[in-house]
């Protein structure tokens, strides 16, 4: 039997819907981006040609990342976090994975490619993926708050159980 959820049409509900749409969109974008790269690696047609930058610095960064194999990791993580965000599973972890990827995409678009005219363009995912990631992380802030523990003591081996507990709990 599925659980029933009670809701009111309030600002809070609308914000949650918008954030959920953001989660689904960034998840889809990550999934397509990662899948396109791996389709090419598998010898299949890409969804879109991998951009290699519009300026020398951007090209150097992207081509070097591809040539040294770092893109294999990035694109795999994009697929993993994309699935997490789409299926609403392990979302705080998915956002944690998406954040550095989104930040580098933003840096590449604005700093390296100089697209400052599109800094707040809502249709430009080169920047929007970062802003959506930030907004979503704020929405899930309670999961990251313990990271700011002022004086943290080490745990023990028994803490591994907490991973299993967290992975099987709704919060």
């Amino acid at each position: 039997m599925s659980k029933e959820i009670t809701y009111n049409w309030s600002v809070g509900t609308i914000v949650k819907i918008l954030l959920s749409l953001g989660r689904l969109y960034i998840g889809g974008w990550m999934l397509v981006s990662g899948a396109s790269y791996w389709l090419t690696q598998a010898g299949l047609p890409a969804i879109f040609p991998q951009p290699v930058g519009n300026t020398p610095l951007s090209s150097q960064m992207l081509i070097t990342m591809i040539e040294v194999g770092l893109f294999d990791i990035v694109k795999t993580l994009e697929i993993v976090c994309g699935l997490m965000l789409i299926f609403n599973r392990f979302v705080p972890l998915g956002l944690l994975i998406a954040m550095p990827i989104s930040a580098i995409v933003w840096y590449n678009a604005i700093i390296l490619n100089g697209r400052t005219d599109r800094l707040f363009n809502p249709t430009y995912m080169g920047v929007m993926c970062f802003y959506i990631s930030v907004a979503l992380m704020l929405a899930y802030l309670r999961f990251y708050a313990p990271l700011l523990t002022w004086k943290a003591k080490m745990g023990g081996f028994g803490d591994a159980r907490k991973l299993v507990e967290a992975a099987t709990t709704e919060a």
Partner: protein, 145 residues
């Protein structure tokens, strides 16, 4: 619109997956179809790999005309007169004197060209365009030795 409403968690989840599928379709359309990519052998390759494939077509398979059409942008900046090998069937051989040198979207080839028994050492500087992945400029420097 006022008051409390009930919705099952399963309905909400299924609705979210439907929305995700719509988003995925839209993203696919925006990236794959809307830009109107001219798909071909030059596209979606790293610059050095693209140049390597281009050279194979020109100098090994003697398909310079085909290669120029597929790998070089129609408005590319280069002097066609000094590239006789960019024609199908051209008997021009190339031997790389050092590995391809790549820096971003610029690739440099240092090679020995042999045509009708005459040899010359040539440095070609290729630049790959930012969109479309095709060569948009070639500068040829011929050794005076």
């Amino acid at each position: 619109m006022s008051g409390s409403h009930l919705i099952s968690e399963r309905t909400l989840y299924v609705a979210s997956l439907v929305v995700a599928a719509l988003f995925l379709t839209n993203i696919y359309y925006q990236l794959h179809i809307a830009p109107g990519w001219q798909w071909g052998p030059a596209l979606d390759k790293m610059p050095k790999q693209m140049l390597s494939d281009f050279r194979e077509e020109v100098y090994v398979n003697a398909k310079g005309g085909y290669a120029a059409g597929e790998y070089i942008a129609p408005d590319a900046d280069f002097d066609k007169a000094i590239f006789p090998e960019f024609a199908d069937g051209a008997e021009v051989k190339s031997e790389l004197l050092q590995p391809l040198v790549g820096d971003g979207r610029t690739v440099v080839t240092v090679h020995k060209l042999t045509q009708a028994g005459a040899e010359k050492t040539v440095v070609d500087v290729y630049h790959i365009g930012p969109r479309g992945g095709r060569i948009d400029s070639i500068k040829r420097h011929v050794s005076q030795e």
